[in-house]
Symmetry: C2
Subunit: 389 residues, 2 copies
């Protein structure tokens, strides 16, 4: 295990009916009568009344607010610029995101941009390091990205999808009501479950040794995600299963599962290039295509770790060699994705004709390589993309 | 799962050599040139140089400090009063605890008392609710109590050992260097491992239903504690094993393992009466006597939960009935305590002649019953004490 510093001050407000608290929570942070920017996506939070409930609570707490809707999946830097402009003109003191990862990430990027003199895209190009941000709170409507407790933000711009991490944008409140997930479209359920599973895998597959405690935590979390993911896939109004997923998805990405260890992030990097190439590719579904191919490619470099995953997470019986155990584990993971109704190949996500050579070159552009469990060059990544055909 | 709010802002600073950061961390909180009260116990932190290292770092950060040593196990309210007096007279801005649970709890109680007009013991009698406290940081020298990240404080006074929980005393920094544990006396290693295990059990044995995610986290943590506890019992200079225990012990008591669920605390309550009766009884060793007897007594009320513990934590094979599985699990727990070199009966801890009737009456005095997994009256508690003979 490596030395580390860790702090996660996000207040998690969890359970049905908690939305009525959001006004007071925002007031405690932003001050009496402050102006709040309310960021959201399309029509679903309007139709299901979550946005109205949040706004009612803000009004009851004596706050003013500006609704800022229209955030799309794979959120764009243009929308971020628009939000920064509105927030500055209206002297906004804090941002409330009501939505999933794209909405929360847009809110975070706006929060970074408002107090910054330069172009907020500088941060994503790693030309500048964020020093401060407006406070962000998140009302979660899709449990997937884990952005509601995380220091990460991912934005699409100039044909790329780039992510950074900085503690200044960790939300001060994450409000999770499992009932909000009852009406999610089937594809978002699938994508969400696969994404939260991947957030733990990106940490679990580490070059760091002697990680017994965190290993056990991560393995148990992944088992719980798979078990409850399969329940909500069939029974989308199951409060108990959504409660477990709401918790798991949020902790999956807050740093707990990589305490003292190096993270990987190669699968996310490869998927990001796919959904930057075509923003109709849903991130979580793209991950279902990328992850088994990546595991297959890296297994020869560290078969013991993949075998541990196979036994402790996928429930595979140990075979004669770690390689064979690993292989059985990857097969079991593919089976799980299939049971969740997820795609398996580039063709399944409409990307059979993508130029994988160009994609691989882009994936290593910043910072020159991809991943840490097994560091990958462009030529490795191209081979991994080829395995997805 | 129940609705909940949770936030743990403690900054965990983990790994070898981290002590040199403590001065800057204290300065960030207490301000330039502030006066710090440094609370510690007996001679061990003097002999092994940890205290000197901490004080050197404070000096390098330009802070002043007052050493306040002599805290004993099962810390007394008299010592707390003394610390409050010194802190007030010297306009102390923050407290640095260098030690284990007793030292950190003394620091917390002083922190509560300094800004409070009345008698700090009022809080422990639940006559008053704390509203504020001085900031506390903790340099951990014994991984056991989990006080370095917790909202709990336990103090002995007027023949009783009473604990309360309040977020205002959660330390702002917990510094954990696994090398500090290499020279612990064998009995403190044992007691520490058993105590951290118990902190998770007190949460795991809950009346709350549908806790799949947290169950898995708690079960994995307990397995890791047992595995690494047995390693350090034989090899006390094993950095990797102590790293896992340092992490596990700290998370065991920060609230993570009871998110959305009611906690129990009957075993701690019963043990506290034993070590209030004779403060030479080490808390962790007392728990090894109390816990199996408690489990035996409560099994008939909820055999399924004890059986789940038996299978998922103790690695017992399911038997014909949950009761039998539970019984095998309790036997396995007793075996683990024995392997750790812990006592098993009241006689082993020199308490064969204690008046168990009087002890049981005291244990339910506040707030009228003990425990939540199975709520216990004085007559139940007396029967449980009788099982420890």
């Amino acid at each position: 295990m490596n030395n580390f510093e860790y702090s996660n001050p996000t207040k998690l407000v969890f359970g049905k009916g908690q939305i009525s608290k959001i006004g007071q929570l925002m007031k405690d942070k932003a001050g009496e009568g402050a102006e709040i920017l309310v960021v959201y996506g399309g029509g679903s939070v309007v139709k299901n009344g979550i946005l109205a409930d949040a706004e009612k609570s803000l009004t009851e707490a004596g706050l003013k607010f500006i609704p800022f809707g229209g955030v799309h999946p794979n959120p764009s830097i243009e929308k971020v610029y628009e939000g920064i402009d509105i927030a500055r003109k209206n002297n906004v003191k804090a941002i409330l995101a009501v939505g999933g990862g794209s909405v929360i990430d847009t809110a975070k990027a706006i929060a970074l941009g408002v107090p910054y003199d330069g172009d907020v895209w500088d941060f994503f190009l790693q030309k500048a390091t964020p020093k401060t941000a407006l406070p962000v709170a998140a009302v979660l409507t899709i449990p997937a990205a884990g952005s509601e407790q995380s220091i990460r933000v991912v934005i699409n711009g100039n044909g790329r999808k780039l992510g950074i991490g900085t503690p200044v944008i960790r939300p001060f409140v994450a409000l999770i009501d499992p009932e909000y997930f009852f009406t999610l479209p089937q594809n978002q359920i699938r994508a969400g479950v696969i994404d939260m599973m991947s957030h733990i895998m990106e940490r679990y597959f580490t070059p760091t040794k002697n990680t017994d405690f965190v290993d056990g935590q991560a393995e148990a979390a992944m088992r719980s995600i798979m078990k409850n993911g399969l329940i909500v896939e069939k029974d989308p109004k199951n409060y108990d299963a959504w409660s477990q997923l709401g918790l798991a998805g949020s902790f999956a990405h807050n740093g707990y599962y990589s305490l003292g260890q190096v993270e990987d992030w190669a699968s996310h990097g490869m998927e990001h290039e796919l959904s930057a190439w075509n923003d109709h590719i849903t991130h979580g579904l793209g991950l279902a295509v990328v992850t088994p191919a990546w595991l297959e490619y890296v297994t020869p470099k560290n078969p013991e770790r993949v075998a541990q995953f196979a036994v402790n997470v996928m429930g595979v019986k140990p075979q004669e060699t770690p390689e064979k155990t690993a292989e059985a584990g990857i097969e079991a993971l593919r089976k799980f994705y299939k049971e969740m109704g997820a795609p398996a190949t580039l063709k399944d996500i409409g990307a059979e004709n993508v130029d994988i050579h160009k994609l691989a070159e882009k994936a290593v552009m910043i910072p020159g390589k991809l991943g840490n469990f097994v560091p990958l060059k462009a030529e490795d990544i191209e081979k991994i993309y080829a395995l997805m055909r």
